[in-house]
C-alpha cells in the first residue's frame, strides 16, 4: 500500500515536536507499515456531489482513557466536517469489529458503506497506543494498517492524525485535520468590547487565547512554518502590525507608521510581509523585509490598494483595488508587472485568497446586495459563487485546498463556517461566546 512512507515519518514527528513544544509531551508518533495490498486510491478530482459513505466503528478501548470524546468520535466528526464524507451513526451498525479479521463485508455493503475504519486505543502509562485499519468495502482490500502513539494529554492530536491518514488514503490528498485555526472573538464585557486572538484545532476544540485587547485585533496571518502569526492590533489607539511567536508568546511590533498599517500576508519563504500602509498618502501595498524592516513599494495609485497576497508561484501578487470605481481583484504577475484586473462579474469583489495549487482565487463577492464567497478558476476565468449566506467575509483556504473557512452572520452573531472549496456541504463551527471573526487556516505543520 503505497501510502505509507516510512522514511518520511520520523522527520515529520521531529518537526512536530520541535514546532509545538507547547503541546508538550507530545506525540511520539511511531508509525509502522503493516503489509498492505495492491494499489489504491480513488481520487476525488472534482466536486462532492454526494458524500462518500464511511463507517467509523467505535474503537475498542482499554485502560484508563481520558474522559470526553473518544478517538473514533473525533475521527468521525473530522471526516463529516470535511464535507466529503457521510459517516454512519454507530447505532445503525450491525457489528462493531475492532480488527480486520472480524469484519463481515456483507454487513457494511448492506448498509451502503464504501469504506470502513476499525481500530483500538489503549493506555500504557502516560501513553496512548492506537492501531487502526481502513478497508474498501467493495474490493475488500485493506488500504491502511497502522499504529500511532501519543501522550495521554494529546488524544485529539492522535485522532486528527488518524483522520489525516484516512482522508489521504481515500482521496489521495493530504488531510488538514492536524492544522490549526487562528481567529478573533469579540464579546461585550462591562459594556465594552473585548477582543481575543485565539488559536484552536480546525474543529474549534483546544482553543487557547494568545492576545486580549479592548481595542480591535484584525487580520491574523500564519507564517509558512506555522510558528508565528502576523496581525493588526489597535492596542495603542492606532493600528500597528505585530509578529507573534506562538511558542514563546514573544511579540514584535514591526509596522506602526502614521495612517493605515494593515493586511499582513507572508511571503512563501517567511522572510517578508506584504502590508498595506498609507504613510505616503493613501492605501498602498508594500513589501517589508522582516529582518531589516526595509520597505519596497509595490503599488502607486490614488485608489485604495490593499489585501495583497502572494500567488502559489510565490511571485504573482493578488490584491484589491478600487481604481475602476469599486473594489475589484487585480493580479501582478511579478512585482514590476502592470496590474491586470481579474474580476468583472459584480461591482464589489475583494480580499483575494489564491489557492495553494494555483488553480483558483477565492474572494468576497457582492451579488444582489448580499456578500458571498466566490472563486474564479484562473485558467477558464469561470466564476462560481460558493455560499448562500448573506454577509460573508474573510475566506481562508485549507492548506490542502479542499476546504474553506469564512465568517458570516447567524442570528445576528458572527460565526465561522467551513465548506468544501467547491461550495459543497457546509458546517458551522460551534459558536463560543460573542462574535467569532477573521479565521485564518494554518499551513500543514511538518
Amino acid at each position: 500500500m503505497a501510502r505509507i512512507d516510512l522514511s518520511r515519518t520520523p522527520s515529520r514527528l521531529a518537526g512536530w515536536v520541535h514546532r509545538w513544544p507547547s503541546l508538550s509531551a507530545l506525540l511520539a508518533l511511531l508509525l509502522f507499515a503493516v503489509p498492505g495490498h495492491a494499489e489504491l486510491l480513488i481520487r476525488i478530482t472534482e466536486g462532492v456531489e454526494s458524500a462518500i459513505p464511511v463507517a467509523v466503528v467505535p474503537f475498542k478501548e482499554s485502560g484508563d482513557l481520558p474522559a470526553g470524546d473518544g478517538v473514533s468520535d473525533i475521527v468521525r466528526s473530522d471526516l463529516t466536517m470535511s464535507g466529503e464524507f457521510s459517516t454512519l451513526s454507530p447505532e445503525k451498525m450491525l457489528s462493531l469489529p475492532s480488527r480486520g479479521d472480524d469484519v463481515f463485508y456483507r454487513d457494511w455493503k448492506l448498509l451502503g458503506q464504501r469504506y470502513l475504519l476499525v481500530g483500538e486505543v489503549s493506555r500504557q502509562g502516560d501513553q496512548l497506543n492506537a492501531r487502526f485499519e481502513l478497508f474498501d468495502v467493495n474490493t475488500e482490500e485493506r488500504l491502511l494498517g497502522e499504529t500511532a502513539n501519543s501522550a495521554v494529554g494529546s488524544l485529539r492530536t492522535l485522532a486528527h492524525h488518524i483522520s489525516d491518514k484516512v482522508y489521504e488514503a481515500i482521496t489521495g490528498v493530504p488531510g488538514a485535520f492536524s492544522t490549526r485555526l487562528a481567529y478573533v472573538t469579540r464579546q461585550a464585557q462591562g459594556g465594552r468590547p473585548l477582543y481575543k486572538l485565539q488559536v484552536s484545532d480546525v474543529d474549534g476544540k483546544r482553543a487557547s487565547i494568545r492576545l486580549e485587547s479592548r481595542e480591535p485585533i484584525l487580520s491574523p496571518a500564519w507564517s509558512p512554518d506555522g510558528r508565528r502569526l502576523a496581525y493588526v492590533s489597535f492596542e495603542t489607539g492606532n493600528p500597528a502590525i505585530y509578529i507573534h511567536e506562538l511558542a514563546s508568546g514573544r511579540r514584535t511590533r514591526i509596522a506602526s507608521f502614521p495612517g493605515l498599517n494593515s493586511a499582513p500576508a507572508w511571503s512563501p519563504d517567511g522572510r517578508s510581509l506584504l502590508v498595506t500602509l498609507s504613510k505616503d498618502g493613501n492605501a498602498e501595498i508594500y513589501r517589508m523585509d522582516i529582518a531589516s524592516r526595509a520597505l519596497t513599494r509595490l503599488t502607486n495609485h490614488w485608489a485604495i490598494d490593499t489585501e495583497a497576497m502572494f500567488g502559489a508561484d510565490g511571485e504573482s501578487l493578488y490584491f484589491t483595488s478600487d481604481r475602476s470605481g469599486g473594489p475589484q481583484i487585480y493580479v501582478k504577475d511579478d512585482f514590476d508587472a502592470e496590474p491586470r484586473r481579474l474580476t468583472f462579474g459584480s461591482r464589489y469583489n475583494a480580499r483575494p485568497r489564491p489557492s495553494g495549487d494555483g488553480k483558483y482565487v477565492y474572494y468576497v463577492h457582492q451579488r444582489e446586495g448580499a456578500f458571498h464567497i466566490a472563486r474564479t478558476n484562473l485558467e477558464t476565468r469561470e466564476e462560481t459563487v460558493l455560499t448562500r449566506t448573506l454577509l460573508d467575509e474573510s475566506p481562508s483556504v485549507s492548506p490542502n485546498g479542499r476546504m474553506l473557512i469564512y465568517a458570516t452572520k447567524q442570528d445576528g452573531q458572527s460565526v465561522l463556517t467551513v465548506i468544501t472549496s467547491d461550495g459543497g456541504a457546509s458546517y458551522t463551527l460551534p459558536a463560543s461566546e460573542g462574535d467569532v471573526r477573521e479565521p485564518a487556516w494554518s499551513p500543514i505543520i511538518r
Binding site: 480591535p216 489607539g237 494593515s262 498609507s278 485604495i304 490593499t306 489585501e307 473594489p327 454577509l391 452572520k409
Partner: protein, 192 residues
C-alpha cells in the same frame, strides 16, 4: 434610514444656527433637540426687542452700540459653536464624498480650529459591516481624510489633525439592516 439621519442633522444644524446663545454640549438626543427648540423661541424674542431699540434710536435697555455689537457677535459665535455640536458625519455606501448638508457644519469646525491653532482634533473614520475588513479600513481612512482635506481647505493646519480608521470594527449601532448601516458609515470628529 440614511436619509432620515441626515435630515435630522440638517434640522439640527438649522435650528441651532437660528438660535442665538444656546450652546448645548454632549450627546445630541431627541430630548436635547426639543429642549433646544424651546430655547430658540426665547432667544428670538429677546433679540427682536434689541432690534426694535436699534431702529427706534431709543435705548431703553441702556445698551451702547458697542455692547449691542458685542451681543451680536456673541450670538454669532454661539450659533457657530452650536453648529460644532454636530461631530458625526455620515456617508453613502463605499463612498467618501462629503454630503452637501454637512458642509456648513464642517466650515464652523474649520473656522474654530483655524482661530484656535492650539486645539487638536482627531478624525475617526468608520465603515458599515458589509464587505471586507481590510478594504473597510482603507475606506474609513479615506472618509477621515476627506474630512481632513475639507478642514485644511478651510484654514486648519495639518498639524492640528490626526486621523485614524477603525473600518467596520467600531459600529455606532450594533446589528444589521440599512438604517443601522447608515449610522455606522461615518466620521467622528473628536476635540482633544
Amino acid at each position: 434610514m440614511n436619509i432620515s439621519v441626515q435630515k435630522k442633522a440638517i434640522v439640527m444644524a438649522m435650528s441651532l444656527g437660528l438660535l442665538a446663545g444656546c450652546s448645548t454640549t454632549g450627546e445630541t438626543t431627541d430630548e436635547d433637540m426639543q429642549g433646544t427648540e424651546v430655547a430658540v423661541g426665547d432667544q428670538q424674542d429677546t433679540s427682536t426687542v434689541y432690534g426694535g431699540d436699534d431702529q427706534g434710536g431709543v435705548s431703553s435697555s441702556g445698551l451702547t452700540d458697542a455692547e449691542r455689537e458685542q451681543a451680536r457677535k456673541a450670538a454669532e459665535q454661539a450659533a457657530e459653536a452650536a453648529k460644532r455640536d454636530i461631530t458625526v458625519f455620515y456617508f453613502d455606501f463605499d463612498t467618501s464624498e462629503i454630503q452637501p448638508e454637512i458642509r456648513d457644519v464642517l466650515v464652523a469646525h474649520g473656522q474654530f480650529l483655524a482661530a484656535n491653532p492650539g486645539q487638536a482634533v482627531r478624525l475617526e473614520g468608520h465603515a458599515d459591516e458589509r464587505g471586507t475588513k481590510e478594504y473597510n479600513l482603507a475606506l474609513g481612512e479615506r472618509r477621515a481624510k476627506a474630512v481632513e482635506r475639507f478642514l485644511i481647505v478651510n484654514g486648519v493646519s495639518r498639524s492640528q489633525i490626526e486621523t485614524v480608521s477603525y473600518g467596520e470594527e467600531k459600529p455606532a449601532v450594533m446589528g444589521s439592516g440599512s438604517s443601522t448601516w447608515a449610522k455606522n458609515r461615518r466620521v467622528e470628529l473628536i476635540y482633544k
